[in-house]
Every structure is written in C-alpha cells, then in structure tokens.
Symmetry: C2
Subunit: 246 residues, 2 copies
C-alpha cells in the first residue's frame, strides 16, 4: 500500500500578477505530478516581495511533502527568491563554491564577462543541493523539501525532469473521463448519490460551454482500478436511465 505524497507550488513574479506574462508552469507541474502519483494540493502566485515569498513557503513546506517554486532566480535586482528561501529557513544566503565555479567556467569558455549580476546566480541558502540546469547552467537548488527552479518554462521543465526521478511518489491516482450529453443540472442529484456510494473515489463534474451548448465531462478518480471501473459502470447506468427519461 503506497503512501499519499502531496505537493504545493509557489509561482514567484510580478509579471504573472500583472498579466504581462501568462503562466505556463502551473499546468505543466500539475500534469507531471498527476503522472507520477503526487497530489498537487495548492498553488500560490506571489509578487517579488520577500515577505510574501517567505510566508507562502513557510505555510506550505510544513504542510505538504514537497514545495516547488518557479521564478526569481536570475541575475537581476528583482530576483530575490534565493534570499527569500534562505530567510524562510533562517539560513544565510551565500555564494555556493560549486555553482560559482560552474558559472565562472561557463562564461570564461564563452568569452563572456562574469559580472556581479551573473555571480548572483551562484547564491543559495547554505547547504542547498543543486538542481542541474542543462540549458543555461545556472543551477536551481533544493533545501529540505523545497525545490527552487527557474521561471522560464524551458528551463523549469528541464530542471523538473532532473528532480522527478528523485522524488518519493505515491500510488498513482487513476482517472477515467465520461462525456455526458446531459447538463449538470440534470445529472447533479443522481451523480451525488453515486459519489456517496463510492466514497473512496473522487467524482468531478466539469461543465463545458461550447458553441452556446452545455455538456458535462464527468471524471472519476481512484487509486484502485477495480473501484474506478465499478464507479464508471454505475455512472454509465445512471446516464442511460436519465437519457431514457428525457
């Protein structure tokens, strides 16, 4: 019997809250977590302000197995995630020798100046583990159960690929989708009865509004294939019955 493994995400960046940048990382993390059997339970989007970042990380890291952050680890003055994560853990934020050497060699080899700004990307909380960055070298880092990654989607995805194999994962939440031509208002009552009869499943009902017509996607989730199929059969019988009545 596998344990339940949970996660939360903190998206850091004024540009998401202003609408200038549309986040593409939340949906990606959600997909990956679902695929490996980790329950993503909460996401917070916070501005580039240390107090807001510290509060979000400390609220979530004690409550969930893992916390993933995106954004704010670049070289500019508004990249304050490393300092904020260090503050959340009460640790000093300092140049990491290995990250410093990696970046120094990387820029040296390309004839690019290793500016003070670039050196900022070698800063992390004391004792942090690296998360390799196969795209632009500057590593993300992990401290305890908090994984700090880039906001640029290509780099975030590459970093996440590095760490996913190292995570504990739970029993995969299986799901099956049943399209219903009947709207939620018709199926809502009987569907609630099915949910009661199968308390170990999570039955979701998602109204779709396409071309002026409503239909409903019903999704059953369960960690047991057998339970999933039993609930699916029950919902299909329910839909048949309602369709005959209508």
């Amino acid at each position: 019997m596998s344990e339940i493994v949970t996660a939360a995400m903190v998206v850091i960046g004024d540009e998401i809250l202003s609408g200038r940048t549309k986040d593409r990382n939340i949906g990606h993390l959600a997909d990956i977590m679902t695929a490996v059997g980790i329950d993503l339970k909460e996401v917070r989007i916070v501005p580039d302000e240390q107090e807001a970042i510290v509060e979000a990380i400390n609220a979530l890291r004690s409550r969930f197995t893992y916390v993933f952050t995106t954004g704010g680890i670049g070289p500019t003055h508004d990249d304050i995630t490393a300092d904020a994560v260090a503050a959340a853990f009460g640790l000093p934020c300092e140049y990491d020798d290995r990250a410093y050497r990696l970046l120094d060699e990387h820029y040296e080899a390309r004839g690019i100046e290793f500016t003070e700004a670039r050196k900022r990307m070698a800063r992390m909380p004391r004792g942090a583990r690296h998360i390799p960055n196969p795209i632009s070298v500057a590593p993300g880092f992990a401290i305890d159960n908090v994984f700090v990654m880039a906001g640029v989607p290509a780099i975030f995805q590459a970093m996440l690929d590095q760490i996913v194999p190292t995570l504990r994962t739970g029993a995969k939440l299986l799901s099956v989708s049943i399209p219903s031509p009947l709207p939620e208002g018709t199926i809502g009552g009987p569907l609630g009865e099915v949910q009661k009869a199968f308390p170990e499943t999570i039955i979701g009902s998602y109204p779709k509004y396409v071309d002026g017509r409503f239909w409903t996607e019903l999704v059953i989730r369960s960690r047991s294939e057998e339970t999933l199929q039993a609930a699916k059969a029950e919902i299909e019988r329910m839909l048949d019955r309602l369709l005959q009545q209508s």
Copy 2:
C-alpha cells in the same frame, strides 16, 4: 492622489490542480485588474475542500481590498463554494428567494425540470448580493469584499464585466517595455543602480529564451507618467553605453 486598491484571487477546483483543465481565468483577471488600476497581489489555487477554501478566503479578504473567486458554484456535489464562503463569514448558506425565482422561471420557460441539483445554484450566504449571469442565468454573488464567480471562462468573464464598473479603482499603474538585446547577466548590475535611482518605480527584468538565444524584456511600472519616462530614458542610456562596450 488616488489610493492603492488591491485584490487577490482564489481559484477553486481539483481539475486545475490535477492538470486536467488548464486555468484561463488568472491571466484574464490579471489583465483586467491592471487595466483598471487594481493591484492583483496574490492568487491561490485550492482543491474542492471546504477547509482549504475557507482558509484561503479568510486569509485574503482581511488583507486585500477585493477577493475574487472562480469555480465551484454549479449544481453538482463537488460545487461547494457557496457553503465554504458562507462558512468563512460565519453565515448560513440558504436558498436565495430571488435567485430561486430567476432559475425557476428560466427552466420553466424552457420546459426543463428544476431539479434539486439545479436548485443548489440558488444557494448563497444570507445577505449576499447577486452577480448577474447573462449566459446561463445562475448568478454569482458577492458578500462584503468577496466576489464569487463561475469557473467556466465565458461565464466568469461575463460576470467580471458586470462587477468591474462597481469597484473602486486606484491610480493606474502605467508601464513601458524596453526590449534589451543584452542578457540579464550583462545588464543586471547597472539595472539595479537605475532601480535604486528611481525608487518610486518597479523595474522588472524578464529573461526570454527563444530559439536558443536569450534576450531580456525590461518593464518599468510607475503611477506617474513623468517618472516612467525619466526611468525609461535612463535605461536607454544604460543600454547604449553597454552596447558600445560589448
């Protein structure tokens, strides 16, 4: 001198956290808030669980001018937002007479049964104000500074359009974007100096990674056009200087 008006958002729904549905409401709200001069300061995505919804709403409603929620106001058993918002305010959640009549008439006129499930959509915290729903009738509602809206994007957007003219709005945060061919590592140091010289602006630096190349979008935000233009001129001088050196 206009006041600062702030907002937070609570996105309610397991389907967003599982990745099955990709949220499209956060970016829309962010755009609208920026357009009318309200600062969106935090977004939380929470599951269809009363405790999580209550906690998010109570944490945010005391801290920001407005809280907007999306999701969980349909007719099925997993639509628990009305109950959760009522619980957050310590109010009873009950059938609203006017909403009940609206829905009853709507379904009557269409020869559709007003099922128990559909009646659920008339429930709201006692004393709530309606948010009209021009698409599918079932209203959203507002209680104090919390605005509860649908998760279906077309309906959410229509509801938001109804309430935006009723909101207090602040001085619009103006912004200007300056594309920089130089990467963040080169401009980071001097850019930090410009930020220090213009403390009343917010200068953001957004790395872009396209076709294997990095460039940087610099965004200056200010409530004063004069300050904005002064900071822009200073950054353009900085970029010219750095480009001549490189």
